[in-house]
Every structure is written in structure tokens, then in C-alpha cells.
């Protein structure tokens, strides 16, 4: 972990204003923010550790536990909402057997919600690893994962 962190740090000057970009890059590197890494960041930037944690826990982007191999994001933006995003989310939760924010037991999928991904014309939309799937119905969502599972193996 130490080398990977130093790799990230090497591109920075060590000023406290770099905290968020560094957290983003560390998360990019590890998939989440291990506590050890956050403590190193605090030392590197010479800011209190409590502040690193305070900032990391404030922003939705940061996670304190590893992600599944695939990220499923159901759009719950306004347009998607009025077109039934709730039911799509229910459907996906049912199929994957997890609630929003959780990762399936086999570590395959992490289910999240996002607000508007700019594809409102296709509402309701979900993305699997940044690929958008639109005009979903709860049934369509079912099928997506049935299909998605096969094609991914």
C-alpha cells in the first residue's frame, strides 16, 4: 500500500487544498478509502486525521468499503422518477437481492442510485459500469440482469 500511496502523493505538493483530489486518486487506486490510506494522507498533507475523515464522509463519491466488480447505478433523477424509477429500483433490488448502497454477496454488483445522468429522454435509466440502459420497465430490468450475468461470465 505504501508504494501505491507514494505514487499518488508524488504528483502533489502536499498542501491541504489537495485533499479532495488526493482522496479521489487514492480511491481510484484502491477502489475505496482504506483507513490506513487516510491516515497517510493526513500525515502527507499535515492536516488532522479527523479532518480527512470528516471530508471523506461528507462527499457521496467516497466509500469506506470495497466495491463489487460491477457498478449498477439506477438513475433517480426527476425525469426518471416520474417515469417509474422507483419500480425499476425495486425490481433491481429484488433481482440482485441487495438494497441500495450494498454489494451482492458474491462481490459481483454494487447497487447505487444517481441523480440524472443526462439521458432523461431514455428515462427510466440505469447504468452498468457506465453503460446506460434506457426505457426500462421492472421487467426489463429483470431481463437485463439475467442477460447481463451470462454475457459477463
Amino acid at each position: 500500500m505504501k508504494e501505491r500511496l507514494e505514487q499518488v502523493f508524488s504528483a502533489h505538493a502536499g498542501t491541504s487544498a489537495e485533499l479532495i483530489p488526493i482522496l479521489q486518486q487514492v480511491q481510484e487506486e484502491f477502489g475505496y478509502l482504506p483507513e490506513e490510506a487516510m491516515e497517510s494522507i493526513a500525515r502527507f498533507l499535515r492536516v488532522p486525521a479527523s479532518r480527512v475523515y470528516a471530508v471523506a464522509s461528507f462527499y457521496a463519491q467516497f466509500r469506506f468499503s470495497p466495491m463489487g466488480r460491477h457498478k449498477v447505478s439506477v438513475c433517480t433523477g426527476t425525469a426518471c422518477h416520474v417515469k417509474g424509477a422507483d419500480r425499476v429500483l425495486d425490481g433491481v433490488e429484488r433481482v440482485l437481492g441487495v438494497s441500495e448502497g450494498e454489494t451482492t454477496e458474491d462481490g459481483e454488483y454494487t447497487l447505487e442510485t444517481v441523480a440524472c445522468i443526462g439521458c432523461c429522454g431514455l428515462a427510466p435509466v440505469l447504468t452498468i459500469d457506465d453503460e446506460a440502459h434506457g426505457r426500462l420497465t421492472p421487467q426489463g430490468a429483470d431481463r437485463l440482469f439475467a442477460k447481463g450475468e451470462d454475457s459477463r461470465q
Binding site: 485533499l19 479532495i20 471530508v55 463519491q61 425525469a79 422507483d86 429484488r94 440524472c116 443526462g118
Partner: protein, 611 residues
């Protein structure tokens, strides 16, 4: 664009990309390459062309032919028929929904007809990843001429004449902010572009960054020169990877061509721009939270009274903070003159407004209209009305800070003041149309859920008030509302709006207050009768199979995820209300020629017999 060449423009806005427009572009390039057309035909990517509903779009210029719903398989036809033989591919054209006749040029499509594209003038025309395209349409000329002047006073004068108001939602006159920042003491100043676009139903800023990034950079540089700043930041949501990518490309190209960096165009003026990725917090759209976030802190808005951002902003230095669109307007205003700009729009709101039109309208997409246009014109003329023959119920603008306006407001002119007066607001440009199947209590609940999640949590009214309103709304949508709830919601809502620390809390109750004002009957139906008039609230609806319509095809039984439907082939099916989870899959599965599944709300929903 060379005069005699033809351009194949492949839209690569987010929606078209999700329709695989990248593959289409590659296929087109491959197809054209090696033919004798090569050289006379250029294939290029463009930012969002606007007509997202019909995407993926391929536009042929200069004819302005607009191919809709294009797939990779259509590439052969387009190249061979249109490009080689000059024969428009009719099946890919947009067909008028009324007459059914094809329309070749997008200029003739009603969706485009009522629009006035100023801000979006380059979106869908130039390649956002090629600075030469931007230069080809007069890009950076405004900056060049500004840099020849002794100082920014003339820019200020033009801006003042234009009466441009900030496009971030509040509508603060841009020139006043610029002047305040110019007059603020300080040897170091900053220009910050707010591209946080947190409204969960809006993508205008994103489309501009993706389609015309140089216009934003040029506007920021001009701002830097005017107020005396040498450094700019663009605060973009990390959820917009494409916008970030295109911005980075644009910044890189601008630096190499000397439009950014030190000694720009030999003028001695230096200005550079850095992209900052927001880490996911709606409240960071608020100016003080945004600057704290760039400083590496929690995005906690600062309480008023406090010095203005133009005096004490980023790193406590004087800072000019504007929205993406505000900056993108600047080069145009300087090129055409402030007075020209002020001739468009209404008395108090000049120029045009961009909207991300979505929801229950035929044509979702990115639109730009002159201020003062009516909601009706936007929804019916540009948007093509409400699809599937459903009735219009409400239009939501201003996102979580805005409100829902009913049919009686359709003739309201769209401008800052009229919308505010109606109880909504311009916001940064989301416009969501809702049809009769939308429950307005649920819409209020939806927005409160959003603000409750996004509240930074420091002040009492917002942190706890949104939570309480949300809980009460959830209870109402579950049929557990109590008499008096509407009054409590109004009392709490008014206190939250009046007492909260920042704009998020100060407008958090708007979706509740406007829906109560215009759709009180829906609240009452939920609370008093336990009925959802839109038949949308899950706890208050039930599904029945109509015996006279069911033919026993078994499709619904197969679709039901909890095996709540019983029935043999060719005999009437029945839903076990105890098992049913009201997911609506049966309704969806039942072929529309039978429509045997009925959704009801009210006495039936309680599982009782039909009265």
C-alpha cells in the same frame, strides 16, 4: 468547414452515446475512407444537438438533413444513398407525428422551430475536441479584442448594457458581480465556474461543456482580464466524465495555441484554468460551499451576514463565481454587443434560457428559447405535448428548489420573475413535465427525499425540518397521514424556508408548498380517503384482473415475481392481494389488446369488495 465539403455530424451527447453513436461514427469513418468521397466528406463528432429523444442523430451539413434513431446498420445506407447518390434516406428521417410525412431538414422540424439558439449555437455544429473548429466560427475573437483594451471597464459596460443575469438560478445581474470583484482589493483574485449542476433532472451545463467547452474557457478568460484574476477553476461534477474529458482536451489545446497560460496572445495578460472534480454533494453548488470544497474542506455553506464572495471567496481572496452558461454567454455578448442581447427576452430577463426538457413529453431534449416564451409553447410546440394521449398535470422547474405549476399556469411567461411569482423558479434549467399519472404528493416526497439526503446538516431547520417533512409525506403516501398534516407541513415548510442558513434549506420546502397550493385535493384524497388519485402510491393501489377481459394467456402469472397470480390457461386469472407486492409487472405483461389488469386506488385498494 470547407465550403464544398459535406459534413457528417455524429451527435455525441450523453444520450446519443448511450445509443452507441461512437460505433456509428467509427463505422461512418471506415465507410467513407478509401472511397472517392474521402476528402470531400468529413465525419466529425459534435456535442448534443438537442433532439435527444430521436437519437442517435446523424446530421448532414450543409443540407441540414437530420437522420434520427440511427444504428450501425444504417451506415451503409447513409453513405451510399445520401452521400454517393444524393438520395436522402427517407426511413431515417423524422416523421411528422400528425401528417406522418418525413421532414428532411431539422430547420423544418417543429422541435427546432420555436427555439432560438444563442448559447447552444455551436453545440451540434462544431467538434468540441478540435479548437480549430471553434476558431472557425469566430472563437477567441472576443478575447482577442478584449485584450487590446487598457482594462476591463469596457467589458463591464457591454455586460451592463446586455443586462445579462446569472444563469445559475438566482438571476443576479452579472455585471454587478463582475464590477464588485474588479473593485475588490487584493493582488490575487480568482474566477470560478460553477459546473456542479446538481439539479437531478438537468443536463444543460453538461451539454455545453461537452459541446462547446471553449466558449466557457473564453468567457472565463475574459472575466479574468476584467476583474484582474490570473487563475480560474471549473468545478465539475465527477459524475460527468465526458464533460471533464472534453474540458481537459480543450484546456490543453487552448494552452498550446496561447489562448490560456502566460502572456495570452502577446498581451502580457496571463490566465490559466484548472478543473476541479466535485466529489458528490449537491450543496456544493452553493457558492461558499463550493469554494470550501476546492479548499479541501467539507462543503458547509457560510451563514449570512458574511462578506460577499466577490470580496472574500476562494482561499479568502476576491472571487468571481458564475455559472457555466453565464460565462458561455460572454463571448457572444461581446461579439454582438450588449444592446443586441438586451433586445432579446423580456423587460427583466434578457436573452435566452436553456432547459433540459424531460418527463412526460414527446420530445425530450436540450432546448433554448427566448425569455418570455410561455410554458405552453415549450411543452406543446417544442416538446410535442404529452405522449400516449395522457392529460397534462404539472410542470416542474427549478429542481429541488422550485415548484410544480398546474395547467392554469401554462401561459405564464418563462422568465426569472414570473416563475418566482408563481411559486416556482427558473433554477438552472431542468424542466420536467408530468402527466395525469403522476402523484403530486409523491413528487413532493421525491424532492424532499433529495434535499434531506443532500442537506449538509449543519443548520437545524434544514437538517431536521426536511427530515420531518419527508417523514410526514412518506406517511401520507402510505395512507398514514393524519388530519392536520397539511397545516403542519405548511408551518414547518415556511419556517424551514425562512430560517435555514443557505439557499438549499431556504427553498427546500418549495416543492411541498407549491404542490399543497395547487394540488391540495390530492393531499386530501390521500389523508382523508386513503386514495391516490393518480393511482401511483404503492401502498394505496391494488391490481385486479378484470374477468370480462382476461383470456387466460398466463403472461401475467409468469411475470409476477412473487407468484401471486393463480389461474389455468384459458381461464380467468386472479391476484392474491395478500401476496401481491404491487410491482405492476402484471399490468405491464398483459398485452395491450386485452388490458385486463386494472389498477385502482381507494376502497378497493384496502382489499375490500367493490362497493
Amino acid at each position: 468547414m470547407k465550403k464544398d465539403t459535406r459534413s457528417l455530424l455524429v451527435c455525441q451527447g450523453s444520450m446519443c452515446i448511450s445509443g452507441k453513436s461512437r460505433a456509428i461514427q467509427e463505422a461512418l469513418e471506415k465507410k467513407v475512407a478509401g472511397t472517392q468521397m474521402d476528402g470531400d466528406v468529413e465525419v466529425k463528432l459534435i456535442g448534443c444537438h438537442g433532439f435527444c429523444q430521436q437519437g442517435p442523430l446523424v446530421i448532414v451539413e450543409p443540407e441540414a438533413t437530420c437522420y434520427t434513431g440511427v444504428t450501425v446498420e444504417d451506415v451503409d445506407d447513409i453513405v451510399q444513398s445520401d452521400l454517393r447518390d444524393g438520395q436522402v434516406v427517407e426511413r431515417l428521417l423524422f416523421h411528422d407525428p400528425e401528417t406522418g410525412s418525413p421532414i428532411a431538414s431539422y430547420h423544418d422540424i417543429p422541435f427546432y422551430g420555436a427555439q432560438t439558439k444563442l448559447l447552444l449555437r455551436h453545440c451540434g455544429l462544431i467538434n468540441p475536441e478540435d479548437i480549430d473548429d471553434y476558431l472557425g466560427v469566430g472563437g477567441y475573437e472576443a478575447l482577442g479584442s478584449v485584450l487590446e483594451r487598457p482594462d476591463g471597464r469596457e467589458v463591464l459596460a457591454e455586460l451592463k448594457a446586455s443586462q445579462l443575469r446569472g444563469r445559475g438560478g438566482g438571476g443576479f445581474p452579472a455585471w454587478r458581480k463582475w464590477e464588485a470583484c474588479l473593485d475588490a482589493d487584493g493582488d490575487e483574485k480568482f474566477v470560478v465556474c460553477n459546473a456542479d449542476e446538481g439539479d437531478p433532472g438537468a443536463f444543460m451545463d453538461r451539454s455545453i461543456l461537452e459541446g462547446d467547452p471553449h466558449a466557457v474557457l473564453e468567457g472565463m478568460s475574459i472575466a479574468g482580464f476584467t476583474v484582474g484574476a490570473r487563475k480560474g477553476y471549473i468545478y465539475v461534477r465527477a459524475e460527468y466524465p465526458l464533460a471533464v474529458e472534453r474540458l481537459r482536451v480543450a484546456i490543453d489545446q487552448a494552452r498550446r495555441r496561447g489562448y490560456l497560460g502566460s502572456d495570452i496572445l502577446g498581451s502580457g495578460f496571463s490566465f490559466d484554468v484548472e478543473v476541479f472534480l466535485g466529489a458528490g454533494a449537491f450543496v456544493c453548488g452553493e457558492s461558499t460551499a463550493l469554494t470550501l470544497s476546492i479548499e479541501g474542506k467539507r462543503g458547509l455553506p457560510k451563514a449570512a451576514p458574511r462578506p460577499r464572495t466577490t470580496e472574500v471567496g476562494l482561499f479568502d481572496k476576491p472571487t468571481l463565481l458564475n455559472n457555466v452558461k453565464t460565462f458561455a454567454f460572454v463571448p457572444l455578448i461581446l461579439a454582438q454587443g450588449g444592446e443586441w442581447f438586451a433586445r432579446i427576452g423580456t423587460e427583466g430577463s434578457k436573452g435566452t434560457a436553456t432547459f433540459a426538457l424531460s418527463g412526460h413529453v414527446v420530445n425530450c431534449g436540450l432546448i433554448e428559447v427566448p425569455m418570455g416564451i410561455t410554458l405552453r409553447k415549450i411543452i406543446y410546440e417544442i416538446g410535442g405535448g404529452v405522449p400516449e394521449g395522457k392529460a397534462f398535470k404539472a410542470v416542474q422547474t427549478g429542481g429541488p428548489s422550485g415548484g410544480c405549476l398546474p395547467e392554469s399556469f401554462l401561459d405564464t411567461p418563462v422568465d426569472y420573475d414570473s416563475l418566482l411569482q408563481a411559486g416556482s423558479m427558473m433554477g438552472s434549467g431542468g424542466m420536467v413535465v408530468m402527466n395525469e399519472d403522476t402523484c403530486m404528493v409523491d413528487v413532493a416526497r421525491y424532492f424532499l427525499q433529495f434535499t434531506e439526503r443532500e442537506s449538509c446538516g449543519q443548520c437545524v431547520h434544514c437538517r431536521l425540518g426536511t427530515k420531518q417533512m419527508l417523514t410526514i409525506l412518506e406517511e401520507i403516501t402510505r395512507g398514514e397521514g393524519k388530519p392536520g398534516d397539511v397545516e403542519f407541513l405548511v408551518q414547518i415548510g415556511e419556517a424551514v424556508n425562512a430560517g435555514s442558513l443557505c439557499g438549499l434549506g431556504q427553498s427546500a420546502a418549495n416543492p411541498v408548498l407549491t404542490t399543497i397550493r395547487y394540488f391540495l385535493d390530492e393531499y386530501e384524497a390521500h389523508i382523508v380517503e386513503g386514495r391516490c388519485p393518480a393511482r401511483s402510491c404503492k401502498a394505496l393501489i391494488s391490481f385486479q384482473i378484470l374477468p370480462d377481459k382476461c383470456i387466460g394467456c398466463m403472461l401475467c402469472a409468469k411475470a409476477c415475481p412473487v407468484d401471486a397470480i393463480a389461474g389455468e390457461r384459458k381461464s380467468v386469472h386472479v391476484i392474491d392481494q395478500g401476496k401481491c407486492i404491487r410491482c405492476g409487472m402484471c399490468e405491464e405483461a398483459c398485452p395491450s389488446r386485452y388490458s385486463a389488469v386494472e389498477r385502482t386506488s381507494g376502497s378497493l385498494a384496502e382489499g375490500g369488495e367493490e362497493a
